[in-house]
Symmetry: C2
Subunit: 213 residues, 2 copies
Amino acid sequence: MIDHSLLGPTLTVAEVEAGCEQAARLQVASVCARPCDVVLASRLLAGTGVLVGTVVGFPHGATTTPAKVEETRVAVEQGAREIDMVLTISRLRSGDLPAVEADIRAVVEAAAGSPVKVILENAYLTDAEKVAGCLAAERAGAAFVKTSTGFAPTGATVADVRLMRATVAPSVEVKAAGGIRTLDAVLDLLAAGATRFGSTATATILDELAARR
Amino acid sequence: MIDHSLLGPTLTVAEVEAGCEQAARLQVASVCARPCDVVLASRLLAGTGVLVGTVVGFPHGATTTPAKVEETRVAVEQGAREIDMVLTISRLRSGDLPAVEADIRAVVEAAAGSPVKVILENAYLTDAEKVAGCLAAERAGAAFVKTSTGFAPTGATVADVRLMRATVAPSVEVKAAGGIRTLDAVLDLLAAGATRFGSTATATILDELAARR
């Protein structure tokens, strides 16, 4: 249930290689790689059972729809099997829900069957905006709604996961990400309804799990 | 000499409109708009003498070259006349200078004559990496090298502007951005060799200038 995040802007190629090796060893759901690393991660993770995912419009969500579509198309072509896109935060905050929904739908279509996780970046939203963003994502065909990028002032909270879980249909999953560093945090967010977790602290979390078992 | 920055991920449409009106009133060089606002800013600033610029691969520089090219193409088509791109920080830190240079060159070509400013994001670089990034940008046809995005832990410094100015040919300008909030900061960076300044505090800076004059 963990997407191992390798999204920091400073990561070198050697650090991405080490992160992919760790992800394969830990048998996580996926590596969430930067777009520039999808080719590398796809090569390193081939045959390991760990998927490669990547991000689109990340982390501000402020690129145009044609740019997000091209990012998605290239990512899928290069081996990405999950797409974590940032919705257009500005337009959600401006109440332009048709624009938000059309942007997501275009990415879902470009993903050609690969599941799309829609990042709301809750740090910047009111509860009403979170609900509106979740519903737009569901209408547009998102597989997941996701709390955060990990690059805003706050990340996943139990209250937000509960709200998002209560908002979307059972067929849409909730991914919690941002500031998740302990097994207890994962368990609290799981109890709140999240079924996927984005973290850089994957090894720490799984070590804790092994110790408790 | 000021590019008025409207890059914050939370800005609403109304805030972008207000920012463009302010930029027109203050007669700055350009508005540096988010990609999703280029159409709006181009409409609002038509005939004012203030150019519209935008950002590519912003702020992490970690998108693929094809995605940066498409972002640039769409931006120019929609009215952007200056392109501030983030180089591939990861590859610069990994010593893969051919990849860094090819990525910049592809954006310069897609910009079709509009000047390209290459953001190094000095916060994450050693001095040797800053020099290597500047030289790659110059070889690739950049019009400017630029210190920072404004979204990293540190922004423009006098020492970095001096280093960048000493590194690139006289035909390449230096843009200082990130944390520039006072006229004194602008004057110090100007003395160090910068000829363009990115700021959100444009009104404050120009009020100070008027008061001193």
